[in-house]
């Protein structure tokens, strides 16, 4: 079946592969969460980390913009509490403490199609992924022109290009897509991957969360 790499593990792995990520640390306890948050610097985000949960938002597993240790502790208790009540018997790795991301959210993903082989996807991310299905596909490997067109084809392209918070350097997003394509070429063992969300802002591109299936 291969193996599944999640949240902190996946983000850390991608960081080692040279991708820009939001700093992320795993905490098993409330105390640990507070310590990690201080280490990263406030504000932080806390996220449920479980192999059984794909939709963290729906599982009530995300708390954002936590400004101090007290808020982090409170958030930790809420996330773990609601997961334990809602998912008896399911596994919990802990809670991910993460540098607060900002900007537009996109999803960059990969799947291995029976006919096409490795396929790259890019789209509007965050809570809009399922609702809007505003995504585009290309076969791996891609060229710069493909990267540009993957973005241009999005219905939300206008919103990406003209966000209210300042101009995004789309060439940097293209670089990121080319980087993912190169990574996939060098790692044929990757079968399926979600980088979701990836924040893009004036400060650049940052992977916020990821899951990677190899095998």
């Amino acid at each position: 079946m291969g193996s599944l790499m999640l949240s902190v593990d996946a983000v850390t792995f991608l960081e080692k592969e040279g991708f820009p990520v939001l700093r992320s640390l795993l905490a098993a306890t409330e105390d640990e969460a507070a310590a990690r948050a201080a280490e990263i610097g406030f504000p932080v985000t806390l996220k449920l980390s479980s192999p059984d949960v794909i939709h963290k938002t729906e599982a009530d597993g995300i708390r954002v913009a936590l400004r101090d240790a007290a808020e982090v502790r409170q958030a930790f208790r809420e996330i773990v509490g609601s997961f334990t009540t809602g998912n008896p018997g399911k596994g919990l790795d802990g809670v991910m403490v993460q540098e607060q991301g900002s900007g537009a959210e996109v999803i960059v993903g990969m799947l291995t199609d029976a006919q096409f082989g490795p396929v790259l996807m890019c789209g509007l991310g965050g809570i809009f992924v399922e609702a809007m299905k505003d995504v585009t596909f290309r076969l791996v490997p891609i060229e710069r022109r493909d990267a540009r067109e993957m973005l241009e084809e999005l219905k939300g392209y206008g919103a990406l290009r003209n966000p209210r918070k300042g101009p995004i350097d789309l060439a940097e997003v293209e670089d990121f897509l080319l980087g993912v394509s190169a990574f996939l070429r060098d790692h044929p063992e990757v079968r399926e991957m979600d980088l979701n969300p990836v924040f893009i802002s004036t400060r650049g591109v940052r992977i916020c969360d990821a899951r990677i299936k190899t095998g």
Binding site: M121, G123, L139, I142, M193
Partner: protein, 470 residues
């Protein structure tokens, strides 16, 4: 392979194996397609002997004196293997295998039989179109090696239609006759035994001067990357347009990844086709319209369109159709507007869309308006609309007269000339596909084809077109 395909498509002689005088045999209809149309030698092969379609037949391929370039096989599936051996021994250049009953059937025996014939073909290096095909028509050299003789009525031109379905060839072939789409080749690859899309693309792009644009109909492929890689390698040489059937957008619902659950097969095809430089279209009608426009018109450098109409209404719906497909109404320069104003009295709208009604009885002025607009740097193409009315009967003939001495247009002109059957047929035929004009049935289809011409230009020249989706 390409040399053999050249001989297969333009053979000096054709043997029809299974040729028959009996209407309910496909070999009868293949003979009907060849006799009186094909200029090379025809060898009917039938073990019963005698005359077939008034031509002396041969009991076997071996008994034919001289070379056979193409063998069209229409015998029962069980006899195909032996027939292919005979073709190999006779040094036939290529085969059209009409016979069905191979891997397309439910019985697994069909697939193993197909494996067997592929091996035999490989042994002799014999390219096979089919099995399970209606055949092909090569209009550029008047070869109709199919069981539908009426395909010979398609006009000779630059569109090659390569299909995974014979039915789609019949749909598009007859529409092509009706709508004056001019073709170089029309073929169904059937089960694609050893001649598949990649081989055909390479042949049509590199070795077939008569083909200017390639139209593909694709259902599903086990290894789509082969087609896409071939197209990508040929990108920018000849435009390729594709209609892909199977529009399911359903992803893998079992996937625990967003990407997997969102990746419907059609969504991947869509991205992959564009990546390969192939223009995807949504319908058979759009496939033909687009191919015809590419065959007939120069590619536009941008999406700014002038609409010239003899009546206001059709001009308005053409204008409305521009924006959804990514085009805009062009803005005329002062110079252009002055030229138009000199040709049109101020009793109609003279800005874009131009109502040419007041010049309706003056074909010279109509052509001059068209020329003024085409000269404008700010206009990339023209949609020209002429609806017949009894009083403007002579307009179309007048335009033909003026176009005779005109230089070809440097920008695309997509026109609708709409009249009751029989009235403008002559002039429509004389104007269509000449000097940069393509005639299509409706303003909306004209707009769509114009947009696709622009997209093709973007694919060929690597320029981005933002509004890609329909």
């Amino acid at each position: 392979m390409n040399e053999k395909l050249s001989r297969l498509f333009s053979p000096g002689s054709v043997a029809v194996i299974g040729a028959s005088n009996s209407f309910d045999k496909l070999g009868y209809h293949v003979m009907k397609s060849l006799v009186g149309n094909y200029r090379g030698r025809i060898f009917p092969v039938n073990p019963k002997g005698g005359k077939v379609w008034d031509i002396s037949s041969y009991p076997s391929l071996e008994s034919i004196p001289g070379d056979v370039d193409l063998a069209v096989i229409a015998v029962p599936a069980g006899m195909v293997a032996g027939t292919l051996h005979a073709c190999g021994r006779k040094n036939v250049s290529g085969v059209v295998l009409i016979t069905a009953g191979f891997k397309e059937i439910e019985d697994p025996g069909g697939a193993s039989l197909e494996g067997e014939i592929r091996d035999i073909a490989g042994q002799y290096g014999l390219p096979i179109i089919g099995p399970n095909t209606f055949g092909f028509v090569n209009l550029s050299s008047s070869v109709n090696a199919s069981f539908t003789s009426e395909f010979s009525r398609i006009e000779k031109g630059g569109v090659a239609l390569v299909s995974q379905s014979g039915g789609i060839c019949h749909l598009c072939g007859f529409l092509a006759i009706e709508q004056r789409v001019a073709m170089s080749k029309l073929m169904s690859l059937g089960n694609r035994c050893n001649v598949d899309f990649p081989e055909l693309l390479t042949y049509l792009v590199d070795h077939d001067d008569s083909t200017k644009v390639i139209a593909l109909y694709i259902e599903g492929l086990d290894e789509p990357r082969k087609l896409l890689d071939a197209a990508r390698a040929l990108q920018g040489r000849k435009p390729i347009v594709a209609l892909k059937a199977g529009k399911s957008e359903k992803g893998d619902s079992a996937s625990r990844f967003h990407t997997g659950s969102l990746a419907g097969s059609h969504a991947i095809w869509k991205g992959a086709l564009r990546q390969a430089g192939i223009l995807e279209v949504a319908t058979a009608e759009e496939l033909l319209d687009t191919a015809k426009a590419i065959d007939s018109c120069p590619l536009p450098r941008g999406g700014r369109v002038a609409v010239l109409s003899g009546q206001a209404g059709p001009g308005m719906i053409a204008s409305d159709a521009l924006e959804p497909c990514g085009l805009t109404l062009s803005r005329f320069s002062e110079e252009t507007q002055r030229r138009i104003n000199d040709l049109l009295p101020p009793i109609a709208i003279r800005t874009n869309p131009v109502d040419m009604g007041p010049a309706w009885y003056n074909p010279r002025n109509i052509i001059e308006i068209l020329r003024a607009v085409l000269d404008d740097e700010g206009t990339d193409g023209v949609i020209f609309l002429a609806m017949y009315a009894s009083a403007n009967l002579r307009l179309a003939d007048g335009m033909v007269e003026h176009m005779k001495t005109a230089d070809p247009f440097g920008k695309p002109v997509i026109a609708c000339f709409t009249a009751p059957p029989g009235i403008w047929d002559g002039p429509i035929g004389a104007l269509d596909r000449k000097k940069g004009i393509a005639i299509l049935p409706t303003p909306e289809r004209a707009a769509r084809a114009m947009a696709n011409l622009w997209r093709v230009n973007a694919l060929v020249n690597g320029k981005g077109v933002k509004t890609w989706d329909h």
